[in-house]
Amino acid sequence: MNYSVLLSQMLEASLMSLRIFFVTLLFSVPLGLLAAAGRRTKVKFIQLPVRLYILFMRGTPLMLQLLFIFYGLKPLTGIQLDRVLAAQVAFVLNYAAYFAEIFRGGIDAVPQGQYEAARVLGFTRQQTFFRIVLPQVCKMILPPMSNEVINLVKDTSLAQVIGVTELLRVTSDWVSSAVSMAPFAIAAVFYLAMNAVVTRCFTVAEKRLNYYR
C-alpha cells in the first residue's frame, strides 16, 4: 500500500466532503430561517406546506432523499441533476428542515416581553427581529446547532450512495483493494480533525456570546 498516494487521494476526497459541508451550511441556514418563519406564520396555506416539508425531510432517511433526487427526479420531472449537485440539493433541503426547527425553538424562547418592549419603543417589526430577537436567538441555538453541524460533517459520507467520491468512498475503495483496515483508521482521524475544528468554532462563539445571560 502506497501511503503517499493513499493520503493524497484521501485529502482530495476530503475536499469534496468539505465542499458538500460548506455549500450545505451556506444555503441551509438561510433556507432554514425562511422555513422557520413559514412554520411560525398563522397563514395556513404557508404553514401547512412548510410543516409537510419538515415532516418529510426529518421523517425519511437522508440516504433515501439522496437516491430519490439523483435517480427519482428524472422519471417524474425529466430533470437529471449531476451527482454532486443532486447531493447538495438533498443535503440543503434536509438540513434546512432541521435548522428550521432549531431556529423556531430559539425564536419561541425569546420572551414575549422583549417584543413588547421593542413595540412600545417604536421599533418596526424588522428592526425588532434583526436587532432584538435574532441576536438572542443566535446565543440560544448554539448548542443544538453544534450538534447538527457535527452531524453534517459525518453525513457527507452518505453522498457516496449516489456515486460522489467523497472521503469515505475513497477510503472504502482502498480498504477493499489493499485488504487493509488502515485507511479506515486514517479516515476516522480525518473526520475527527474536521469535527475538532467545528467544536472549537462553536466553543469560541459560545464564549464570545457569554457576556450576557
Partner: protein
Amino acid sequence: MAILTARNVYKNFDGTEVLKGISLDVEQGEVLTIIGPSGSGKSTLLRCITQLETIDRGEITICGEPLVKSGTSRSAVYADRAARNRIALQIGLVFQNFNLFPHFSVLRNITEAPVHVLGQKKAEAETHARKLLKKMELSDKEDAYPCQLSGGQQQRVSIARALAMNPELLFFDEPTSALDPELTGEILKVIRELAAEHMTMVVVTHEMAFARDVADKVVFMADGTIVEQGTPAQVFGNTQSERTKSFLARFNES
C-alpha cells in the same frame, strides 16, 4: 388639557369581559395611580392604552389625537397605522419585569430606540442617555449588562430607556412588584422625583402609601370597572364604596 382620555373602554379575552366600560382622564403634568385587586383589569387597561392590546369598543384619545373611536356597529375603529405610530411615540411604558434587552449594554439599551426609531445622532443620544443615567444614579453602570445589575438598577435603566424617547406620558405597570422592599424604595423615589418635575404619569401599583402620597388622582378598579376615583384624600380618606373600603381595610391591617 387632558392628555389622555378614555371613554367606555371594553375589552374581552375569549368571552371574559376584562374591561367593562372604563372612562378616565389624565391631565397634563398629573400623576394618576391605579389601585385594585389582582385581576381587576389594571394592567390590561395600560396595555390597551399602550397598544399592546386592542380594545373591543370605546374611545381613547392621546395628546389630542384619537387612537380609537367608536364605530357605527359598536365596534372600535382604530386610527391608521401612521397615526397609531405617532401616538405610540408619545407614550412610554415601564414594565413590571423590566424587559431590558439582555444583549445590549445599559447605554445601548437606552440609545437604541432614539437612534434607530427617532433617527437621533449616536453621540446626541448617548449624551442624553448619560444625563438620564446620572439622574438614575447609575453613571458608573453604562457599560454593564442587565444581568450584572440588581432588580432595582434594572428598573431604573428601563425608566431611563423610556424617558430617552421624551414621552409626553409615562406608564408604569406595577414597577415594583418584582422587587424586594428595599429596592422598591429606590424606584418609588425615582417616580416621586419625576412627579416633582411634573412628568405626566399613570402608575399601576400595589404600594398603597405610595399611591396615596404621589398621586394627584387615584383610581380604584375592581372586576373590570372603576369603582371609585378622586383625589387621594377622597379615595383614601373619605371612601364611598364598600368594595373600596374592604380592599383598603385589608391594606390598613398589614
